[in-house]
């Protein structure tokens, strides 16, 4: 009898060790894909891992990254299906709440009430980050001289293109009006208006994009500090 018990123990131990050996690589690779931003591969790898693994704790951790990959791919419904069952577990409930709030803007406000301190701390720190361009200044410059806002952003090629296109349409409108070609002048004027307003909006949008690109690394650092639940795997 004792011999059989030892035999069963030995076999169980052997099977578990073999299983861990095979699946650990899947988990590591899945996390590496997630960190590299290859979310489709990460989701696939981590889903396979949760099916095959014998380690319950690792399986739950993998589900978190699986769901996060799906959120990153804008597959919110699928992500919810993966992550929601974990909310019943007391150990994971808080982490699940933060992840859902982070990835779903419509939940952010309601869940922010529960995690109000951390969310306001995050927003406070982000608002203090340095911006490199002022969108209102770029817009004003582009309104005064088309292309000037783009030049202020450091986008010299688009500045030249904006200036040239606006000049062509404006001069064509004026010339057609002088020649008493009302309909053509109106059409040219409309085109000018679109290009002129587009030039203003474009310069402001570019300023926002440049600021976002500049702040991205710092925002990720703050996010990791305030919400350790959202830290990338090491």
């Amino acid at each position: 009898m004792i011999f059989f018990n030892y035999l069963i123990l030995f076999i169980t131990h052997f099977v578990q060790a073999d299983c861990a050996l095979k699946t650990d690589k899947l988990f590591e690779q899945g996390k590496a894909y997630f960190t590299n931003g290859q979310y489709l591969l990460a989701a696939n790898q981590l889903a396979t891992f949760t099916l095959l693994t014998c380690n319950e704790a690792q399986s739950l951790e993998a589900r978190i990254f699986w769901a996060r990959s799906l959120y990153e791919l804008n597959e919110a419904v699928e992500a919810e299906r993966v992550i929601l069952p974990m909310a019943k577990n007391q150990m994971w409930e808080s982490k699940v709440r933060v992840i859902r709030a982070w990835y779903q803007p419509e939940l952010k406000q309601s869940l922010a009430l529960v995690e109000q301190d951390r969310f306001s701390e995050f927003q406070r720190q982000v608002s203090q980050l340095e911006t490199i361009k002022k969108p209102w200044l770029a817009g004003t410059l582009s309104a005064v001289v088309p292309g000037a806002g783009q030049a202020y952003n450091g986008n010299f090629q688009s500045a030249v293109l904006s200036f040239v296109l606006n000049s062509i349409f404006l001069s064509a409108t004026i010339e057609l009006h002088r020649e008493k070609m009302g309909a053509a002048a109106l059409a040219s004027g409309m085109l000018f208006s679109v290009v002129y307003l587009g030039n203003i909006m474009g310069s402001m949008d570019s300023s926002h994009s440049l600021n976002e690109n500049h702040q991205r690394a710092d925002q990720e650092r703050i996010r990791d500090q305030v919400f350790p639940e959202l830290r990338l795997p090491q």
Partner: protein, 124 residues
């Protein structure tokens, strides 16, 4: 005299140095498809004529991802038709400096394309 220096100066001013890091094209296209419920990847008739006839004839290749027409559809849905259209015109004008403005770059069959799609509609 100073010919080389002048040429170098023009090249320097005209060159966009990418600040972007690279990402996976498949993921980016999947995300864009989901973002507008699969609609922007379906071409309309006008787009087909432009992309399959004019763009090919002129060898015009959009550096942006999503392309301007896809961007217009997504932005019109996000921010309304008027604001979306103007943002698309602004983006069209900024294409020459795509590398500077983009969030990250992707390799599309050997061609670099620059991803740029802000979630927010805020202008100020």
């Amino acid at each position: 005299m100073f010919q080389k220096e002048i040429i170098f100066l023009f090249l320097l001013l005209g060159t966009s140095v990418s600040a972007a890091y690279s990402r996976n094209l498949i993921d980016e296209k999947f995300k864009l498809g989901r973002q507008a419920e699969g609609k922007p990847l379906v071409k309309t008739e006008i787009e087909k004529i432009y992309k399959d006839v004019f763009a090919r004839t002129m060898y015009s290749k959009c550096q942006w991802l999503p392309s301007d027409s896809q961007y217009l559809k997504i932005k019109a849905k996000q921010c309304g038709q008027a604001r979306g259209s103007l943002l698309a015109v602004g983006r069209f004008l900024a294409e020459a400096d795509a590398a500077l403005i983009s969030e990250h770059a992707v390799n599309d069959n050997g061609r670099l394309r620059f991803v740029n799609l802000r979630e927010s509609c805020d202008i100020f």
